[in-house]
């Protein structure tokens, strides 16, 4: 099976601060691939590099055979028409209704008549269970519902690639389950490829086909959820079992407590 997205020898840094180094990842077509890891490990940066929002210092990001980091603005926009992205907090347009939010990409990129746009938008909203809320504004719905509207907007143009940035962050258990099922079902129904960035183990393992674990800008483990559940890798064990101490230390690095308390030498 060919890969829709390929990342090779990727190096990215903000000034002197290295964010990603020697990254190599594959995202096969039709699969739901999760990228997991603690806060600040570079997960979202990977999505931004795939979307061409930022450019790496070294290496390549290929989407559908095109090197994203070598495309000009017009090329990037052409490529992005085949992508959908869900932002962490939805990023809905607050001055538009839910209907107009979902209709936005259709109106911008197609010449479809308004009647057809209406039908398409209502179908997309029906898929996320919010058809009857289409007249409301984003400020009138809950965070979980806003996330689902953002999903409907992301799939408005039936993209080949859908990227989800922390779709479960801040959701209650019901909304979390609903969103997880939605991501899986949409991936299968649309035949698209999904990249899910998350640190929520339970929901992600329930729906992902393959998982990459990242730490400090590197891939530290990868495999199917079943393989990772029984992994003996210390980082994966700590992360999957939510252990407070391990390769990711509980204490911020620095002097020991005994040094700070003046108990010389005792630790």
């Amino acid at each position: 099976m060919s890969n829709l997205v390929e990342i090779r020898d990727l190096q990215f840094s903000y000034g002197e601060r290295s964010i990603l180094s020697n990254l190599r990842m594959d995202f096969p077509r039709g699969k739901l691939i999760a990228v997991m890891g603690g806060s600040g490990c570079g997960k979202t940066t990977v999505l931004r590099l795939i979307g061409g929002q930022i450019r790496p210092q070294r290496g390549q990001v290929r989407v559908n055979g095109e090197v994203v980091n070598e495309l000009n603005t017009a090329g990037l926009y052409r490529l992005r028409r085949r992508m959908g992205m869900l932002f962490q907090f939805g990023a809905l347009f607050t001055d538009l209704t839910i209907f107009d939010n979902v209709a936005f990409p259709l109106r911008e990129h197609t010449d479809l008549p308004e009647e057809l746009i209406r039908d398409l938008v209502l179908m997309k909203l029906n898929a996320v269970g919010l058809r009857n809320a289409h007249r409301l504004k984003p400020g009138e719905i809950s965070g979980g519902m806003a996330r689902r509207v953002a999903v409907a907007r992301a799939i408005a143009l039936d993209p080949e690639l859908i990227m989800y940035d922390e779709p479960f962050a801040g959701l209650d258990p019901i909304s979390m389950g609903v969103t997880a099922n939605l991501i899986r079902n949409l991936n299968d129904a649309l035949g698209s490829t999904s990249i899910l960035v998350s640190h929520d183990v339970k929901e992600t393992f329930a729906i992902a086909d393959y998982v990459y674990f990242m730490s400090a800008g590197k891939i530290v483990a990868e495999g199917t959820p079943a393989e990772l559940r029984v992994s003996q890798d210390p980082y994966v064990k700590q992360f999957v079992n939510a252990e407070p101490d391990g390769p990711v230390p509980f204490h911020y690095p620095g002097k020991s407590l005994s040094d700070d308390l003046g108990l010389g030498g005792k630790r």
Binding site: Q53, M83, M85, A91, T94, R153
Partner: protein, 259 residues
């Protein structure tokens, strides 16, 4: 001494960098403007919104400025027996200077700050990034329609300000203080030249519209996405836009009316 030189060098370099950055942003805005004009409803919507933001404050301010001008001019002109010159004097003051300048200052405080806060909050809420990821250029879709909306609304608002101000002066001079109505209007008609005065007013307010609206959009678009920086950016909009308006007014007045 060395430190002072270093600091002045750094400020000069940073100032030139900022100026260059703003100039590039301005030409980028112009570059994507034809795309906005291909969808005129986006611009007419913004003329409506931006014009409405400032309409009430413009009318009220225009009326009071006109009332005060009428009173002050009358009290002084009557000492020389020249009270019939109230009409042209008020009209020239409003049309040439106060209309464009005061409207631009009000526009910066009302519509300018709204634009900066709106764009800044869109940026903070990742709405502009979301738009880019949907392959929609935010400069063309969001900034250009607002820019031209502001640029077109500004001369209309300045005209409203001047017209309401003249009515205010009429109310004081003619209705309250008993100046002859015919003298008021005929002297005004004779004293105000369409090309020299009215056209210069339109040109001034058009230039002020460019300066104020661009400043507001630039400050909003390049804000750091934090509540504190959005607040600072709205303040910067008022300060920079007001200074630009006053500076440009002097330059344009010298060019238009200087001998």
């Amino acid at each position: 001494m060395i430190r002072a030189l270093e600091a002045s060098g750094r400020w000069t370099r940073e100032g030139l960098e900022s100026l260059g950055f703003a100039t590039r942003a301005f030409f980028n805005l112009l570059r994507y403007s034809p795309g906005a004009f291909r969808r005129p409803t986006l611009i007419t919507e913004q003329i409506h919104f931006i014009g409405n933001y400032s309409l009430v404050i413009t009318i009220v301010s225009g009326l009071f400025v006109g009332l005060v001008l009428g009173l002050q001019f009358y009290v002084n002109l009557i000492q020389f027996g020249a009270e019939e010159k109230l009409g042209p004097l008020t009209a020239l003051s409003l049309v040439r200077e106060l209309g464009p300048v005061v409207t631009a200052l009000l526009f910066a405080g009302r519509a300018g700050t709204s634009l900066t806060a709106e764009i800044g909050l869109m940026k903070a809420g990742e709405q502009l990034t979301a738009m880019e990821m949907m392959a929609v250029n935010p400069v063309q879709r969001v900034l250009a329609p607002r820019f031209w909306g502001g640029v077109i609304a500004m001369p209309v608002l300045a005209t409203v300000f001047s017209a309401v101000g003249i009515i205010g002066s009429y109310l004081v001079g003619v209705k309250m203080l008993g100046l002859d109505e015919g003298a008021f209007w005929s002297q005004m008609q004779a004293g105000v030249d369409v090309n020299r005065d009215v056209l210069s007013s339109v040109i001034k307010s058009f230039v002020f519209g460019i300066a104020v609206t661009f400043t507001a959009l630039f400050q909003g678009y390049h804000v750091k996405p934090t509540p504190a920086d959005v607040a600072r950016a709205t303040t910067r909009t008022v300060v920079i836009a007001s200074l630009l308006v006053l500076g440009l007014d002097f330059v344009m007045t010298a060019m238009m009316f200087g001998q």
